[in-house]
């Protein structure tokens, strides 16, 4: 199910989600975090949560698809798969069996900026998870058979996730144009031709370069105390040799004033879908503007009683409309408005309506709206303590994206600091940044 569709049916949930993606959703006072660093450079964050005798372990490597060199797309993701195929100490088969018979719920994912390995476990098996995680940080073994099987598997994965689905294919096209000439332009899963051309040596080199203690963040959240866990982390990870820390590329602003339109008719599409995306500053580039977009998007198209709902959906000018914002990135961020028009031919009118609504909303945004929106965003903060898995995800993502202490601990302050002027300034900003309008249409002769 795509996001907009979920949003159509469950506004509330999306609103909540959106809040969860907040950078810095983890003020130290609420989360009670402890941080320390091993002598080999591994950064460790511990969160205590004593609801149940379980823990979430998340090991994040600060490397993702955006770090692949040209022509080698899919490499970070393929390596992620190979990390389950065994080390010089533990075969892949045994690794999986150990996880199974010890009841560990484990998996991994690759994004443009990070690669993360995560496990939910009973605390009595936490040490085992740490030992296995430490082992594969240092001792990965890639053999020919496993390599060739995984190459086939990631190919099948790409077909299943992307190529079976018109919308997913279109969104890759859009992504490619929006992020043109930046490392974000190729899909994380890779381009088929390039996946098939990857070699064992490519993956080994990537592993040797990026999978080092000083390029990783280990997050443990659960029924543990820092006193208990610190010696254990030291015991299993402390012995891993210190290596050169790879350079963390921070890149590419695409806020270049271009204005792009793309439309495509595709089989299997029933309803026209219109999206307008703007390149915006990420927290790394311009915190003030990033948080202003954050607060404004909540008001505009995310919270329960939002502007788009009131002025477009309820007035029956469109069937559904939402906005979303992504400000966690090494380059530019993205502010996106997605709309389901009334009819399949209405898209030109719809595009005008979106532009108009955006202008009007920024103009209408006043002190009262600002206070109300801040209150909403901050009130949801408390949920971060509900689920050890969620808490570990956030901390891991933020730390790995290079968020500093201040960003994480001063979350509340960052939101509170957004002023009316910051929001009003978004209007001139939107006029000079990159804008991309995309329309996905049903095939005419269906």
């Amino acid at each position: 199910m795509n996001c907009l569709k979920i949003c159509l049916m469950m506004k509330k949930v999306c609103c909540f989600l959106f809040l969860l993606v907040l950078p810095g959703l983890c003020a130290a006072q609420v989360l009670n975090l402890s941080e320390f660093e091993l002598s080999n450079g591994l950064s460790v964050v511990i969160g205590e949560n004593h609801k149940a005798p379980i823990a979430k372990v998340m090991l994040v490597y600060k490397v993702g698809a955006a770090d692949e060199v040209a022509g080698k797309s899919g490499l970070a993701h393929l390596l992620e798969h190979l990390m389950f195929r065994g080390t010089t100490n533990v075969s892949g088969e045994r690794f999986n069996t150990l996880m199974l018979e010890n009841g560990v719920d484990f998996n991994a994912f690759t994004s443009r900026d990070i690669t993360a390995y995560h496990a939910l476990t009973d605390i009595s098996r936490l040490e085992l998870v740490l030992a296995l995680e430490a082992d594969r940080m240092a001792n990965l073994k890639i053999d020919d058979e496993a390599f060739s099987a995984e190459q086939k598997i990631v190919y099948q994965e790409r077909q299943q996730r992307v190529e079976n689905n018109s919308k997913a294919r279109f969104s890759e096209d859009v992504n490619k144009i929006f992020w043109q000439n930046t490392p974000y332009e190729h899909p994380v899963s890779g381009v088929l031709k390039e996946i098939n051309a990857l070699s064992k040596e490519d993956t080994k080199r990537f592993y040797d370069t990026y999978y080092t203690p000083s390029n990783a963040v280990l997050v443990i959240v659960g029924d543990v105390t820092v006193k208990e866990i610190k010696p254990l982390v030291e015991k299993y990870f402390g012995g891993i040799q210190k290596k050169r820390t790879p350079e963390r590329k921070m890149f590419f602003s695409i806020e270049d004033g271009s204005n792009i339109f793309i439309s495509k008719e595709m089989n299997d599409v029933e309803k026209t879908m219109v999206s307008v995306s703007y390149a915006i500053p990420s927290v790394v580039k311009n915190k003030k503007a990033a948080y202003a977009f954050y607060v404004f998007s909540s008001y505009f198209g995310e919270s329960g009683a939002n502007y788009l709902k009131k002025y477009l959906v309820d007035e029956q000018k469109v069937v559904a409309a939402t906005s979303s914002v992504q400000i966690l990135s090494r380059g530019s961020g993205e502010f996106e408005i997605s709309v389901l028009p009334n009819g399949n031919d209405d898209f030109k009118i719809t595009i005008d309506m979106i532009d108009e609504a955006l202008n009007n909303a920024i103009e209408a945004f006043d002190e009262k709206a600002l206070e109300n929106e801040k209150k909403k965003i901050l009130s949801w903060f408390v949920y971060i303590k509900d689920n050890v898995a969620d808490e570990a995800y956030f901390i891991g993502q933020l730390k790995a994206l290079g968020m500093n202490e201040e960003d994480i601990e001063h979350y509340v302050k960052n939101i509170e600091n957004v002023s009316i002027k910051d929001v009003k300034d978004l209007l001139p900003y939107l006029l000079k940044t990159k804008k991309m309008t995309s329309v996905l249409l049903p095939k005419e002769d269906k």
Partner: protein, 458 residues
């Protein structure tokens, strides 16, 4: 539900989920001594402390409560029985789903904007969803906002606003969503599968309903739905979180205050599920073939439930180590994943499975499935596999307590399936008492007939 949040969170990062792999037949090196690590673990096994108790409100509503005070939050789960889409009248299909959407658009003294604002500024998460037999509700809130949460939910249940404007909006959204199901080959396959498996019985309906019916929904229909379905005699309630038994009594009485305690007892016609769907393919121009397959399973209360559950785990269940995954994915690289699960629904218990493969891999994948299926029937499981799955079930037991919503839903499910309030204390015994022979008997019995298979894309 929280999982859903996490998934969406990941989507935002344009992720490719999961990598994962296995089965290289390397010799395990003794350098890594897992048993020793576990035995000498500094962190020992502990028990979850918030086991449920049963309490009654003065007006006779039964609640299962799991007290858990580690965060100032409360989760309430409840359902109204026989209020799901299978019980919608034949010419009002989709009504229960429609009601579940419109309920959050204002109630009692709160107009929609005020209502939504109160939810957001008080961090109250409220959600309704209709499944085939029940209408389920979930509310999570910070303890300090309990009074507001209570008032809002009571208003929703007793005096929801169904104004024309909102009805029009939701009609447009629900009918659009019906069309949009066709955009995704997996949902096309799933829907078609349901129609055939349930033999046109109401349980096989699409939750979103029928467009013509939806367009005709009147305000009276919605009011009648609420009046006849939201009662205390078909209500089941569970709570988890930072709340005492006394607070719970009051809270629950206030929420369900004003609901009738009797009403029309609805029944569905008898269901005869079709386990022998004729093998068929839905044409669609996509690079892969996606398949769903089904065979007879057991209901939750059956003595074969635990044995078959274990057989399924070994065959195609949990994770990368199942036989199906090891052979089709890890060894041959045919698919990104093939898995099976049990649906223990009482009148249509089944083993269901699915896989997606490139067209050129389809016949091979199908042969692997049927071959493994036959082997399971003929040779059963090995002692080693049995021990592993048993250990998995025992050591993963506490993971179910990860979130309050997860806990309250678990308590709701325990009531729905009559598992007893001491189920959580007894569950590991049930697992330990499941014998190797019983597991093999279940393998022989339930894997005797090959599964029926439906595909899309070929």
């Amino acid at each position: 539900m929280v999982k859903k949040y996490v998934l969406r969170f990941l989507n935002i990062f344009f992720l490719v989920l999961f990598g994962v792999a296995l089965f290289v037949f390397l010799k395990a090196d003794k350098a890594f001594d897992a048993d020793k690590i576990i035995q000498n673990s500094a962190l020992k096994e502990k028990k979850f402390k918030g086991l449920p108790v049963e309490i009654m409100t003065q007006n006779g509503i039964k609640i299962w409560l799991s007290e858990e005070h580690s965060a100032p939050l409360v989760a309430l789960s409840f359902y109204f029985d026989k209020a799901g889409f299978a019980f919608d009248e034949g010419n009002k299909q989709g009504l229960s789903t429609f009601v579940s959407s419109i309920l959050l658009h204002g109630a009692g003294a709160f107009d929609e904007e005020m209502f939504q604002n109160l939810l957001d500024t008080n961090a109250i998460e409220m959600k309704f969803s209709a499944s085939d037999e029940i209408m389920e509700g979930l509310m999570i809130f910070p303890k300090e906002n309990m009074k507001t949460a209570m008032d809002l939910l009571n208003a929703v249940l007793t005096s929801p606003k169904f104004d024309e404007k909102n009805m029009a909006v939701i009609k447009r959204q629900q009918t659009a969503a019906i069309d949009m199901q066709n955009e995704n080959p997996e949902s096309v396959l799933r829907n078609e599968f349901k129609l055939r498996f349930f033999n046109n019985h109401p349980k096989g309906r699409l939750p979103l309903g029928v467009k013509e019916d939806i367009e005709g929904f009147s305000r009276q229909d919605l009011e009648d739905f609420v009046k006849t379905n939201f009662r205390t005699d078909n209500l089941t309630v569970a709570i988890a979180g930072d709340i005492t038994p006394d607070e719970t009594k009051n809270f629950v009485s206030e929420i369900f205050k004003g609901l009738p305690d009797t009403g029309l007892q609805k029944e569905l016609s008898e269901l005869e599920a079709n386990y022998n769907i004729k093998e068929d393919n839905i044409k669609r121009d996509i690079p892969q073939v996606i398949s769903l397959f089904v065979a007879k399973g057991v209901k939750r209360s059956d003595k074969d439930f635990y044995p078959l559950y274990m057989v399924n785990e070994i065959f195609g269940g949990n994770g990368l180590s199942s036989r199906l995954n090891v052979r089709a994915r890890e060894k041959e690289g045919l698919t990104y994943g093939a898995y099976t699960y049990l649906n223990a629904e009482k009148d249509a218990p089944r083993i269901v499975g699915t896989f997606s493969v490139s067209k050129e891999n389809y016949e091979k994948m199908k042969a692997v499935l049927f071959d493994e299926w036959r082997k399971m029937a003929r040779y059963g499981v090995q002692k080693e596999e049995f021990e592993r799955v048993k250990n998995n079930m025992l050591t993963s037991f506490n993971l179910r307590f990860a979130s309050l919503a997860g806990i309250s839903k678990q308590l709701l499910y325990m009531q729905k399936e009559n598992l007893g309030i001491d189920f959580l204390q007894k569950r590991n015994e049930y697992v330990l008492n499941t014998s190797f022979d019983a597991v093999n008997a279940a393998a022989q019995k339930y894997f005797a007939d090959s599964p029926s298979i439906l595909t899309i894309g070929n």
